[in-house]
Symmetry: C2
Subunit: 440 residues, 2 copies
């Protein structure tokens, strides 16, 4: 696979199959839409999309009276703003092919004494999400399609998008301020919402103000390309010679089989960027326990012949960011590691940055969270003696994409070595010290 992995290892034997399945499920609705409408696959240009959206919408426009003639105002089927907030979706980034998460707030002002079934705002958004996208275009496409389908006074869309952060491979770390994700806020409006200073936006923002959305933070159109996908940033600087052309070609052929044109301007560098991303998780040939080259400075200070026993002070490093790649689906997972340990006699405390580098070392591989947790615990154990506990909390992209769509879910794993495996009080004290809920 070009990552130095044994393709026959059981955990990854079926991975290519799972990846193909995930990508095609991720864009499934789009194709199902086409198949069910008997649209020829080659005819899949924008008019084709609009066509199927129109059909979703038309069956769900219900007559609904507006106000009587002698009343002044906006309500019901004429002029009363309708907003559906906090719709969770995922899409795929057209720059790097990784899934990204977004929260959608969508509204429209009815006209013509008709209202749309609420679930259709979600279904139409989903049609445009399930393809390779970029946030501003996604917002614009959903907005135009709804406007065309409903023929309302106006449509307004605000999307909060989150993209997994890319590691800075030079320093073997990534920006911990971002908690592993890059966010962007985009909007799109039609009709009464076309002008972004239009009065109607006041009502819209008035009704989503509690979502922590600041109108001023909304990205201006046109400036998105430089900032959104971390693969486009200059910090991502894997040397070109490390990228295997066969991998790039393979990724381009995946794009083609998804019905995309790999020569489309926005997709030109995509296979290369996705390959770069994968190369971050290249199987490292350093076997630390054998030659200990990375940690040799520390090993020198250890004397394993010293008599047993340990200091009762619980040392801990909490909330160390981690990023890894699920080996079952080739999709990222990210979160934090919490490490607690007692120092055995003859061993010495270890620094936070050193613990963090151990977390990154085991993260930047094809992994499963259970193994990652165990490997971190074993390595720390070899440095401080045998009493170590490690908790890893992570959000798995494979749990939101692939049709599972469990957006809020998050996985915790424990490895408890030495006294932590038997001493309930020590384990409970450590678990108690882990800080409260964070959005991972």
């Amino acid at each position: 696979m070009g990552l130095g992995e044994d393709v026959n290892r059981e955990g990854i034997r079926k991975t290519p199959l799972r990846v193909a399945k995930a990508l095609s499920e991720g864009t499934r609705d789009f194709f199902e839409e086409c198949v069910s409408k008997n649209i020829d696959k080659k005819g899949l240009v924008i008019p084709g999309y609009i066509q199927s959206v129109k059909e979703i919408v038309e069956g769900a426009l219900f007559p609904e009276e507006g106000l009587d003639k002698d009343e002044v105002g906006h309500a019901g089927g004429v002029g009363g703003l309708v907003i559906v907030r906090d719709l969770d979706f995922y899409s795929y980034c057209e720059s790097c092919m990784l899934p990204f998460y977004f929260k959608c707030h969508v509204g429209y002002v009815p006209s013509g004494q008709r209202v749309l079934g609420l679930s259709k705002l979600s279904r139409v958004t989903n049609v445009f999400a399930k393809r390779l996208q970029e946030p501003q275009r996604l917002a614009n496409e959903v907005c135009s399609a709804l406007h065309e389908g409903i023929q309302p006074t106006g449509v307004a869309i605000v999307l909060e998008c989150k993209h997994v952060h890319f590691p800075d491979t030079e320093s073997n770390s990534f920006d911990s301020n971002h908690k592993g994700v890059v966010g962007i806020l985009v909007s799109s409006g039609s009709g009464a919402f076309e002008d972004k200073d239009a009065d109607m936006w006041g009502d819209f923002f008035g009704l989503i103000k509690f979502r922590g959305i600041d109108k001023d933070n909304i990205h201006d159109k046109g400036s998105v390309d430089q900032c959104w996908c971390p693969s486009l940033s200059n910090n991502v600087s894997l040397k070109n010679e490390e990228i295997k052309p066969t991998m790039v070609t393979a990724v381009a052929s995946i794009l083609k089989s998804l019905g995309e044109d790999p020569t489309r301007k926005e997709l030109e560098g995509t296979p290369g960027r996705y390959t770069k991303w994968l190369m971050n998780f290249q199987c490292s040939s350093i076997d630390m326990r054998q030659n200990g080259s990375l940690w040799s400075g520390i090993y020198d200070a250890l004397d394993p012949n010293e008599e047993e026993g340990f200091n009762v002070k619980l040392h801990s490093e909490l909330n160390l960011p981690l990023l890894s790649q699920c080996e079952h689906h080739l999709l990222p997972f990210h979160g934090v590691a919490h490490i607690g340990y007692f120092i055995s006699k003859g061993f010495h405390p270890i620094g936070k940055s050193f613990v963090q580098s151990i977390v990154h070392f085991y993260g930047f591989k094809l992994q499963v969270q259970e193994r990652l947790t165990k490997q971190i615990a074993e390595t720390i154990s070899s440095l401080v003696g045998k009493n170590v506990i490690v908790v890893v909390e992570a959000s798995h992209t494979c749990m939101i994409s692939r049709g599972i769509e469990k957006f809020g879910s998050n996985t915790a794993t424990i490895a408890a070595l030495g006294c932590f495996s038997t001493d309930l009080a020590a384990r409970a004290a450590f678990l108690e010290s882990i800080p409260g809920p964070k959005s991972l």
Copy 2:
């Protein structure tokens, strides 16, 4: 339809079709599972269920090393606890057939050097959710199925279930302390978790403690039947003579076509209870604007001939609970109404309880949220003069069930009459006064 509605009205013409579709989608995975495994439909007894779960699990058990022999502890494929938290699902209540929402926290302790693909914990839970259920049985069934499938050291399940509250039809209101929903917390454990005081539960609760879950609030097995479904409570006292036997028979036949046995002990009263629920939304024949019987005491005080003008003080009633039934899907929606108004000359302030009864009057019908908002606004307008604004915020059950599964989403609608339709500052001031996020 026995509710006094015109079955040819456009909004509800296709409702029977939509209801049938929703119910069969709600139990879809179950049937698809059977069809895909070529299991005869008549053979759908418990061993059949277990069979298909086993097949989900078996393909996703991956070899994963435990600790080396010279290490003491629990980690990786032997003994390291794995928890997936905050999985969102819905199921259908077997007592009243309404969908209920639940958040699932599921964990297991691996053994035999094998770990399960994380998404399978979600998929197995879903198999048991997509049928008529009761929380404790649901937890037990998921627990047993996972234990049988993974053969781990133990499986632990905690479910936070929420059920739409039933209106107290006598007083035409419902308990506002419940914010429209009844909650219950249940757990189930196998193996190392079988004893609910087992040490392993300490780790489990240690890792979900931030979810606001208190171990002591978990329902003891056996006492659930009396408390969970509000349809079983004594307060729900629609007189028996009001229930049409033809409706009960129709609901029983729906149960049968879902593959359920309507004579199963737990389902005996279900068709009657679902019919009772529907009767809450009977089309009322009182046309308030014509004879004004309900509000006549107030109308007496009004003098519409008084000259125009209004007091500049903004009156408002915020967070008035509401419960209604979506006429497109015959599924409940619940939330709050916020009402703001200026009192025109010759009109008088109206009391909060009176405003609340107007909200309930229009809620307890087959509705769409846009119309409900408009009707509340028009009625208040007739009582205080023409300057009224109404915002309704609601969660729609039809947005979580029916395959849409947008769990956090929520809909806001506005009706603005009189000066509120033109005076941006007045509208903004009212929107600003609406209190922060609530879980509806």
